[in-house]
């Protein structure tokens, strides 16, 4: 009888099974085999069998590796050390197969052969290696043209959506921006110096396909200044095909910018009332497109609940042009980091530092003027500090 009965159950069912994958890896790697046993034990005990990670890494870097030790080494000696290595993905998560195969070969040589494509920050996650292998792996990783991603109180691996590579709505080049920022800030990415982690994500339109607004301290989301472009011929096509353009498009416009003229079969927009929500564009892909004067909005502060509660990024720069060498964005980042570095407390994300010190104090520090677009509504309380 199998010694992993609980996990075996997860090989059944239509969705592809991670247990199958673990077993595939186990055929070649004793570490992967012991991992199976250890995880089966967790399924039995209903608790994790991993201990708090120790400090492991590569010379010259302060991050990129998550140390991990088992609390049942005697039972599963080959999984006693099971460190994770984070490898920085190429923009847009595009790969040629040679590169991928090289990574696989390296990981077959130095690791458990188990991986996540990708971790939720966006790195390639290579799961399970021993301390002595880390440096060797890294040296060869550099050889094949890859580098580590971020971990700890550093700039985390920036990510961006597929954008101009395969999306008609991209308002800026998310792939190039992410690549450029990642290269420019290698030092911030590898060497901890800040109160806590800092994340950058770029979605090239407000659909936000990398969930930047929820997960990035510094959120770059595509925008345009002029009007959406409507092709009335195509609009008539949709109408002809029976789409309820008034009910499903015009009435759903949050800005109240759209009017549907049933008789004329025309959809008109009042550009000043469009809030660029993307809805009409999303649903009438052939008839409606973003404007032509493109750029991005920058929002600040997105993060998960620890410790002062979750934040969604909020508006910091309503519109900015995004063009190489991206100087304006880089300067803004430096200003923000300097201020945060000086005022942030240990384990305090930028949103929490701003919440504690006051948004207007932050705006002054980074040299931005207050705008109505930054708030849902003005204050309702009369407790104004006039002396500032």
């Amino acid at each position: 009888m199998s010694d992993t009965p609980l996990l075996d159950d997860l090989e059944k069912g239509p969705w592809p099974s991670f247990v199958k994958e673990m077993k595939r890896a186990a055929l070649k790697s004793p570490a992967a085999k012991d991992l199976l046993g250890l995880v089966e034990l967790s399924y039995k005990d209903r608790v994790t069998h991993w201990k708090h990670g120790g400090i492991v890494g590569v010379t010259g870097y302060g991050g990129g590796v998550i140390g991990r030790y088992s609390d049942v080494p005697e039972k599963f000696p080959n999984a006693e050390q099971f460190h994770t290595i984070r490898v920085n993905h190429p923009s847009g998560w595009f790969y040629n197969t040679q590169s991928l195969r090289k990574i696989c070969d390296l990981w077959e040589k130095y690791g458990s052969g188990l991986t996540n494509f990708h971790g939720s920050t966006g790195d390639i996650i290579l799961l399970g290696t021993r301390t002595e292998n880390i440096q060797k792996f890294f040296d060869e990783l550099i050889e094949i043209g890859f580098d580590l991603g971020g971990s700890g109180s550093v700039l985390r691996t920036p990510t961006g959506c597929v954008g101009p590579a395969r999306c008609e709505w991209a308002c800026f080049d998310s792939l190039d921006l992410v690549y450029d920022l990642t290269q420019t800030f290698q030092d911030q990415l590898h060497r901890p110096r800040w109160p806590y982690k800092f994340k950058i994500k770029a979605s090239a339109c407000p659909n936000d396909c990398v969930a930047a607004i929820a997960r990035a301290d510094f959120t770059i989301i595509g925008a345009w200044k002029d009007s959406i472009r409507i092709d009335q011929k195509e609009v008539k096509e949709y109408a002809a095909k029976g789409m309820d353009i008034k009910g499903l498009i015009a009435d759903r416009c949050p800005g109240g910018a759209l009017t549907w003229d049933e008789k004329k079969g025309e959809l008109s927009v009042k550009p000043e009332d469009c809030t660029r929500c993307m809805h009409c564009i999303n649903k009438m892909t052939k008839a409606i497109r973003p404007g032509t004067e493109k750029g991005a909005s920058i929002l600040i502060g997105g993060k998960a609940p620890i410790q002062k509660g979750a934040f969604l990024s909020w508006m910091l720069v309503p519109f900015i042009k995004i063009e190489p060498p991206y100087t304006e964005i880089k300067d803004l980042l430096e200003k923000i980091w300097d201020w945060w570095d000086e005022h942030g407390r240990n384990r305090e994300r930028i949103a929490e530092t701003i919440a504690r010190m006051g948004f207007k104090v932050f705006l002054k520090a980074v040299g931005l003027k207050p705008l109505a677009q930054m708030v849902k509504h003005p204050r309702s309380n009369p407790f104004i500090f006039f002396n500032e």
Binding site: Y43, S99, R101, P164, E168, T285
Partner: protein, 355 residues
């Protein structure tokens, strides 16, 4: 020691297929042809077909090699992964599409997730690799997607439905803004091991780590260590993150909370946080039937009652939370009432409500 460091990731341009290099930034529109298949058309008129494949995310290198084989066979040696860990194969050749899909199916992998579907589940490490975990992520995801499988491979929804799983409240992943979010939670205070603590942690930083001030120096001057005021503990795990001597994991205390109605896109309604639907379900591996059942129930009710293009959170906003609880039959308890910072913002300051 590496000859070089700080080289960063490879240049993305090396990773782009020809057909994309040619039409980079000049795409005109797209059409979703069927579940898992879409076509992008460029200004130039050239077309690109994308086939999306569900992945377990936790895979062996041989899985990656399988993907490479397919990419070499049909896509000129290029592929990509999505922000939800699916695999995407792209080809300008219409004729390649069906054979490609056939070969994917041979590997036992699902094609789908494009359009108004439930896509892959953003998730985390769990018992596979994380010391903080209150549950496993991969097992939950597998169980959930087995249950909701047809929503990935067919069009059965009025809008996208995004699911996320996190194995503790650190919420790695956009769990806090997902249509459906399953979060591992501890419900027992940390078990303090004061010998270990004295050896491995600084007491001041341990005291400071607690947001609720539940941790105090040990009353007995002799003991170099701390005590936890259990009634003030909200099981957040901050103390454990800074000090290994305070583990929270507990076979019976650990389990899942389910949050619903979040979104991040700005389409129509602004982004929203997910809100608590079910405070606690005990861990029941390997299949967590209570969790998958609860999700299935919510999805069924949503499918029945929602309107075209309405995300789950938009639907709830329209009908009201009290009606959501009534329709789903989920009991509303004191745990649903916020008592964290800013809680008063969540109180209903109007007479408007539904029965």
């Amino acid at each position: 020691m590496a000859k070089q460091t700080d080289i960063g990731p490879p240049d993305y341009r090396m990773m782009l297929p020809e057909s994309i290099k040619e039409n980079y930034g000049t795409w005109k529109y797209h059409e979703i042809l069927k579940p898992g298949l879409m076509k992008h058309v460029a200004e130039s008129g050239s077309e690109l077909y994308t086939v999306r494949v569900g992945s377990p995310r936790l895979v062996s290198i041989d899985f990656i090699r399988d993907m490479c084989d397919l990419a070499d066979r049909y896509c000129g040696g290029y592929l990509r992964f999505t922000s939800r860990a699916n695999v995407e194969f792209m080809t300008p050749e219409k004729k390649n599409v069906e054979p490609l899909i056939a070969d994917i199916r041979k590997l036992g992998l699902p094609v789908g997730g494009i359009g108004d579907c439930i896509s892959n589940v953003v998730h985390t490490q769990g018992w596979i690799h994380c010391h903080s975990s209150a549950t496993d992520a991969s097992g939950l995801v597998k169980s959930i997607m087995d249950e909701l499988y047809p929503y990935f491979t067919e069009f059965k929804l009025e809008a996208k439905l995004r699911i996320a799983v996190a194995c503790c409240i650190n919420m790695c992943g956009a769990v806090h803004c997902s249509d459906l979010a399953v979060v591992g939670i501890h419900t027992k205070p940390p078990k303090v091991n004061n010998e270990k603590l004295a050896a491995t942690c600084e007491i001041p930083s341990v005291l400071a780590s607690c947001p609720t001030g539940a941790i105090h120096r040990h009353p007995d001057k002799e003991v170099k260590g701390v005590v936890v005021r259990e009634e003030r503990c909200m099981y957040c795990g901050n103390c454990y993150t800074v000090c290994p001597a305070m583990p929270l994991a507990d076979a019976d205390g650990d389990g899942l909370a389910i949050f619903v109605g979040g979104k991040v896109s700005n389409a129509r309604k602004p982004p929203m946080f997910s809100r608590l639907a079910i405070p606690f379900i005990p861990n029941n591996p390997p299949r967590w039937p209570e969790v998958t059942g609860a999700l299935k129930n919510i999805v069924d009710v949503y499918v029945k009652d929602s309107r075209k293009y309405e995300r789950l959170g938009e639907w709830i906003e329209r009908i009201g939370w009290e009606k959501f609880f009534r329709l789903t039959g989920i009991p509303f308890t004191e745990h649903h009432i916020d008592d964290f910072t800013g809680a008063t913002e969540t109180f209903r300051t109007t007479t408007q409500f539904k029965w």
